[in-house]
Amino acid sequence: MRGQATRARTVLAPVLLGLFALALWQVLVVAFDIKPFIVPGPIAIGSEFGANLSTVVQGALVTGGNALVGLVIGGIGGILFAVIAALVKAVDGLSAGVVSAVAVVPIVALAPVLYAMYGANAETARQLVAAIAVFIPVYVNTLRGLRQVRPVHRDLMHAYAASAWQTTRTVTIPGALPFIFTGLRIASSLAVISALIAEYFGGPIGGLGKSITSAASSSNYNLAWAYVLGAILVGLVFYCVTLAIEMFVTRHHRPTS
């Protein structure tokens, strides 16, 4: 019973705070007669969101789709590359510098160049931007996880005369899963942000980013905010789904003796 009470409190408290903040926002907008181009009230945004639900959903599917493709490609690439780097010391040594260099590149800045490369009416450039943004945190976290093998497990696999690949498959990669998922969780938000921002630099019409810029440039501020709300929801969905998968996959990963 007490557990339920605490759970109710942990859920209820932030929800109440959120509602209070929204109410305060609405009151301030009305009381000070704040113009929509500065910031519209939550009710205006909400009603615009409801009225344009189908276009918001369409935009969310395009942006979310690009982010998902980027997350999958960048995630698989990051994990594979980290496994190779962990197995082959030379690869690790060679790639360390490159990876830290790529890590500091503002990846969205590549979008215009990639549009030129792949054509402005294809989604490829956006997916690539997301994939590159995803690659770095997944690679870095996976590699760190792959180096966390407990000495007792290393001894055990040595005693079993297990091959390097057997050790990687049965001990190293499963042991690195919590780290891989930390990387993927960070990357999931990055994928959405990158796919969205890449739309600001051109490419085909249809995504949420494009919709935000076009609504804002035609002074339809309420609609622009409705699309922003849509983008926030896409980001939340990505984060929550990765978190749920992480919690399921690593449910037995509590350290044991």
Binding site: V152, H153, D155, Y160, A162, H252, T256, S257
Partner: protein, 277 residues
């Protein structure tokens, strides 16, 4: 299981250590962990290595397991080099930490060595069921390590070390992290299990009663550099005769005293039978 010893002539010892030194190179210079170690373990014999921390008992076990290589001297396991014996999976091993893979359930953990060595799925399942019964954990086949107590985890680790019916078991303080009650129960079980399997055991411990209760012979070691101070034969009857009753037995206390004297290199102080560890 016990019949696996039949195809080996008794002349071939399970473990033969001759003139082994082990020197570690550290930043502060060289450390001699082991010096002039000679030891023979017969097939089916239970030998404990006992000594204070830093006497090299674990190092010696790691050398036998080929987890480390001796600096000088020779070391054979069933007449093979330690390396070849490891590759041929001549021994099973258990450590102080159970070292179970937390993402595998109990039977998958026990089947791990079999899986790595290409044993088929049905054969693996049959063997793990057999071993779970042996260690009394049949009801926990589908549990995960984080759902088990420390003692149960260690029993799974012992079952895993027995998976390939090895003729030699290497155990590095497997009960070191357990409470006294669990520890005594595990010791009784180990005596039973080794009697059933007929495997030779090299058992590292720092507990005198544990060494006396379990062993045919106790190897007493001294530290810095690690040397064998003495080897004493404990004659407490066959494995089957060693029951819980033995812990109250006069002969048991006498042997505890002998090992303690050897360990301290002096006559024991304090009341006989009181555990000084």
């Amino acid at each position: 299981m016990s019949d696996t010893t039949a195809d080996v002539p008794t002349a071939v010892p399970a473990v033969l250590v001759e003139g082994v030194d082990k020197v570690f190179d550290t930043k502060k210079g060289t450390v001699t962990a082991l010096e002039q170690i000679d030891l023979t373990v017969a097939p089916g014999e239970f030998v404990s290595l006992i000594g204070p921390s830093g006497c090299g008992k674990s190092t010696l076990l790691r050398l036998i397991a080929d987890l480390d290589t001796p600096t000088t001297g020779s070391l054979t396991v069933f007449g093979k080099t330690a390396r070849q014996a490891r590759i041929d999976q001549e021994y099973g091993i258990a450590f102080q930490q159970a070292g179970l893979l937390p993402w595998r359930d109990v039977s998958a953990n026990i089947e791990l060595p079999l899986e790595l060595h290409g044993v088929g799925k049905a054969a693996r399942a049959a063997r793990s069921a057999e071993l779970l019964a042996l260690v009394g954990l049949s009801d926990f086949a589908d549990s995960y390590p984080d759902q088990l107590s420390g003692g149960m985890q260690q029993r799974v680790a012992i079952a895993r070390s027995l998976a390939e019916s090895p003729r030699l078991l290497l155990m590095d303080e497997p009960f070191g992290a357990l409470d006294e009650m669990t520890r005594e129960r595990m010791q009784t079980e180990l005596v039973r299990i080794t009697a059933e399997t007929g495997a030779a055991v090299v058992f590292v411990t720092h507990s005198i009663p544990e060494a006396v209760y379990l062993s045919n012979r106790v190897v007493v070691m001294s530290p810095r550099p690690g040397r064998i101070r003495d080897i004493t034969t404990v004659s407490l009857g066959s494995a089957a005769e060693r029951t819980e009753q033995l812990r109250e037995d006069e002969a048991f206390f006498e042997n505890v005293s002998i090992v303690r004297e050897l360990l301290h290199g002096e006559t024991p102080v304090g009341i006989r039978g009181v555990e000084n560890r």
